[in-house]
């Protein structure tokens, strides 16, 4: 699997996993389908961008940092949307988004394929 494909696959999987844990929050259960969809797409986007970054820069530390940053950013965009209750769930969305972004960043760095620059 090359870096882009790795990013897409694991981004989707981890996004799905992240979204699925929303089931443990009773008030979110009714929207689980939408959460899963949104989370997977978020994961795909983060994975694509992380994969692209990994092709440019070969560095585990920078890859993790990049993934975590864009994971946090896109999670923030999602958290900006108010929930039906009117509340924002910044912490519940951004913190896991940050960590899954880091994991995706790590996996794309480890995937096979050329990198333009090694740091």
């Amino acid at each position: 699997m090359n870096k882009i494909v790795t990013g897409l696959v694991f981004g989707a999987l981890l996004g799905l996993l992240d979204g699925a844990t929303a089931w443990f929050t009773p008030e979110a259960r009714s929207m689980i389908a939408g959460i899963l969809m949104g989370s997977s797409i978020k994961g795909l986007v983060v994975g694509l961008l992380s994969g692209w970054f990994a092709r440019k820069v070969n560095s585990l530390q920078w890859g993790i940092a990049f993934g975590a940053t864009i994971g946090l950013f896109f999670a923030f965009l999602v958290a900006l949307q108010p929930q039906p209750s009117g509340n924002h769930y910044y912490l519940e969305i951004m913190l896991p988004g940050f960590v899954t972004g880091a994991i995706i960043g790590f996996l794309t760095q480890r995937a096979s394929g050329p990198s333009k620059q090694t740091v």
Binding site: F24, I64, L95, P96, T100, A102, I103, F106
Partner: protein, 284 residues
């Protein structure tokens, strides 16, 4: 009968030990080392205007025989084998080789407590590659030991003193079945295992000790079949994989997997921790 005082005696011993290089293209500079079979000198090659090392063998074999051996060894072109430039017989009958002058240290002197495990294994890998290459050409080293390995100023590794007949090897590095028999590639394998054992620090991982022990098994059939197999097992260790020589228990395998994937496991643990944290935060 002449009475030789100490000063004259020492002078005679010194001048007779020095090789007479007249008639060759070399000018003697200085002695740089003594090995089991001869003395190595730095010399100047007048024709090519470069410094070389000259090994003068104090063998009683006819020079013709040694020149043939020199030709065989000179045919070994490998980055870890010191190139032989020239060979011949001195006027006094002693045979000599002229070869690349390696500036560096013998492995036994290069070794120090601060040397990393990675570096120690790198030296073994380089030496092993040279041996494996030579074996494909039908040449056995016969006397592999730390004193016969040089590490150059840029970290390059050279295996020296190849295949000189009549050498029985050094006890610590000599395969037990070789007593009284001609060394073969398996004896080089044993010696490489002994070299690994020599280089391993006291707190070396058990897997590495197992690799060395397998290479040094008293029964030849229990050892690695050849040098490449030995090197492969070493490489497996360096890649964090299981080595053939060390059967792991479930927990050892799990521990090795965890060490190999530390970062990923840490990140996954962070993910789980975050989820748990958020779950309990909601409860408060």
């Amino acid at each position: 009968m002449i009475d030789l005082n100490d000063s004259i005696l020492d002078h005679l011993r010194h001048v007779l030990d020095e090789p007479e290089l007249s008639g060759t293209r070399y000018e003697l500079e200085a002695e740089i080392g003594r090995g089991g079979l001869g003395v190595v000198y730095a010399a100047h090659d007048r024709e090519l205007r470069r410094r070389v090392a000259i090994k003068v063998l104090d063998s009683t074999l006819p020079p013709v025989h040694l020149e043939e051996e020199a030709r065989i060894i000179a045919s070994l072109e490998h980055p870890a084998i010191v190139p032989v430039y020239d060979a011949g017989a001195l006027p006094d009958g002693r045979a000599y080789y002229a070869m690349k002058l390696v500036s560096g240290q013998r492995l036994d002197r290069y070794l120090n407590p601060r040397l990393s495990l990675t570096e120690r294994l790198r030296v073994i890998q380089r030496a092993g590659e040279a041996l494996a290459f030579a074996h494909t050409r039908g040449i056995v080293h016969r006397d592999l030991k730390p004193q016969n390995i040089m590490v150059g100023s840029f970290g390059e590794v050279y295996v020296m003193d190849w295949g000189v007949e009549g050498v029985a090897g050094t006890p610590q590095f000599r395969a037990p079945e070789q007593a009284g028999r001609e060394p073969d590639p398996r004896s080089d394998g044993y010696a490489l295992g002994a070299l690994l054992q020599f280089l391993l620090p006291e707190d070396a991982p058990r897997a590495l000790r197992a690799v060395a022990a397998k290479a040094m098994s008293p029964a030849p059939e229990a050892r690695y079949p050849d040098i490449p197999s030995f090197l492969l097992d070493l490489q497996r260790f360096q890649d964090g994989l299981a080595v053939e020589a060390f059967p792991e228990s479930f927990w050892q395998r799990t521990g090795r997997y965890a060490r190999r994937n530390q970062v990923l496991l840490l990140l996954l643990a962070a993910f789980v921790a975050v989820k748990f944290f958020l779950f309990f935060l909601r409860r408060l």
